[in-house]
Symmetry: none
Subunit: 187 residues, 4 copies
């Protein structure tokens, strides 16, 4: 049954989608029962697809990161200036995060370290490049810039997730505030 693996993949993806939503809504205190119910399956069935809570979370993380990976790869970051690269990255991250409600991905929690590094890397790289090329201010260490950027992104995504902002608007706001700050010309 060639179809089997495909079917299973579909169910898996569906569960992951639901799980992402539930975890985003109820936070880490969402129980497996909550997720199973929301997904319309029995708890034991949920365990058939993901043999443990960790496995589920890891799968969720990987899916989100894979999605993000694709978007970043598509962005051809090296072909544009660092600020445009930041703009593209921001759009990619906002879109992926919104898609998977996976805000927490940036945290230290869950496995998938290699994958995560593969993704956080480009972000870091672009900022470092910008500093190196003199486009970004050098008075703040790149690490800090990166941390602040992550913060802004989380703030912007939270606006998207609460429905107060569209993904495009949020991306623009994040990008422009990070790049240009909030003051008017007069500064």
């Amino acid at each position: 049954m060639v179809k089997n693996s495909t079917l299973r993949a579909h169910v898996e993806a569906g569960i992951l989608r639901v799980a992402a939503t539930v975890l985003a809504e109820r936070g880490d205190k969402a129980s497996m029962a909550d997720i199973a119910t929301a997904a319309g399956v029995a708890r034991a069935t949920l365990y058939r697809y993901f043999p443990s809570r960790d496995a589920l979370v890891k799968a969720l993380t990987e899916a989100a990161l894979a999605d993000l990976h694709d978007r970043i790869t598509d962005a051809r970051l090296d072909e544009v200036a660092p600020d445009e690269a930041i703009a593209r990255l921001t759009r990619a991250v906002v879109a992926a995060t919104h898609e998977y409600r996976a805000l927490a991905l940036f945290g230290e929690e869950h496995g998938a370290e290699e994958l995560k590094e593969r993704l956080l890397g480009p972000l870091r790289d672009q900022i470092e490049r910008g500093v190196r090329e003199g486009r970004f201010r050098a008075d703040i260490p790149p690490d800090v810039l990166f941390a602040l950027y992550r913060g802004i992104v989380e703030g912007g995504v939270s606006q998207v997730m609460s429905g107060r902002l569209g993904a495009e608007q949020a991306s623009a706001a994040i990008t422009t505030v990070f790049l240009n700050g909030t003051l008017t010309e007069a500064t």
Copy 2:
């Protein structure tokens, strides 16, 4: 024993300090046992001081917010321009947050709503004032600016808490990035 109440207050404060650290580190999954152990007391003793988990969290929230309240009051925000006000607020928030590891304060979770509003209010106010007075860009709604600001602050504080940055440095970075962005003049 006049000292008694003071002594108790000291122990209480000590436990709160430890609890703040533990909760910041392990998150909501830190158990009362964890906190008690970290504080060097038996679980039952912890319950002597805070009769329930909620009471502990609430006390923690209130202590942190009261601390922050004092700092903000001291800052005389209305007597300076919005950007200087932001600078002072940032310093106050970073210091208080670092002191109490109370990152979560900005979240929606725990009670103490009135107090929290009393504190989030000034932040919001300053941003709105800045927009109104033409110091801050008007192309991004104040709400969004506020959310992004919250995000940057969280990012900066995380740097402080991990020891990679001093409070003063972090405050400066947060402020300057929020106000001026990351691009060099050439933009």
Copy 3:
């Protein structure tokens, strides 16, 4: 599986039976762990069937009272003289109490007030009827007679539960002592 609900009901009833015994033996200090162990299930399983201690006690109460209700209804009390009614009631109460070890039912403790009233009512009624009809002594208020009757029944049931007496013997003893006292004719 039509059987499923029935099976669950059987298990429930079994647990209730055991719980009644344990609670009767160890009193209110019997823990849920005690009950679960006695029932041969894990504590968590006990909670599957009765989500809280209160729920268990309430279910137990209701089962016993329902049983007693049936027996009393079957007794057609109004069709016989008060003393025969007392005899029948006594047999019903002894049997039901023995069955469910539910001595405590007569206490004030647990919910199921309406049901309880439906059951204590007939007892009270028969005694009052007996007094009204001149069959029972009028020099003792019906309330008191009722209280004494309850006491005798509890005494008799304790004999049954400790195995020193059969239900039928106990019922007869209770009835005859209550109705005729312990003195020989000569009185």
Copy 4:
């Protein structure tokens, strides 16, 4: 300090009195804290007088039984007929039980076995004597008569404790029902 032991005895007696009340009201679920508070002393002080819960209960039991013992001794049971003996015993038991709220004394629970036996003995003895002498019905075993008697007494005492009946009335009702039953002559 000769007075010391006397003073201590007074405090002890006072605590016992309060403890009897509290235990009667709240049952076995009354905590040491409850008792200490009701007695107006700190928990630790309560423990100074009674080094454990069991010790307190045992002391309470012994006090009640000693009181009862005195009353029974005063009753000169052997000098009167069994039915009069029952009447006197009933008055003694009701009074003592009411005094100490010590209904539970008849139970199997707490130590003080020898003392208890010294007291339950006379009750049993009188009933057996009554049977032997042909005053009490012989168709019910003395053990059972005794159990039923205990039940009636408990029922009557509960009326006294709830204030619905005076001790004298209750004693009379208990005695006459036990001896003569509830039916009118016509039986």
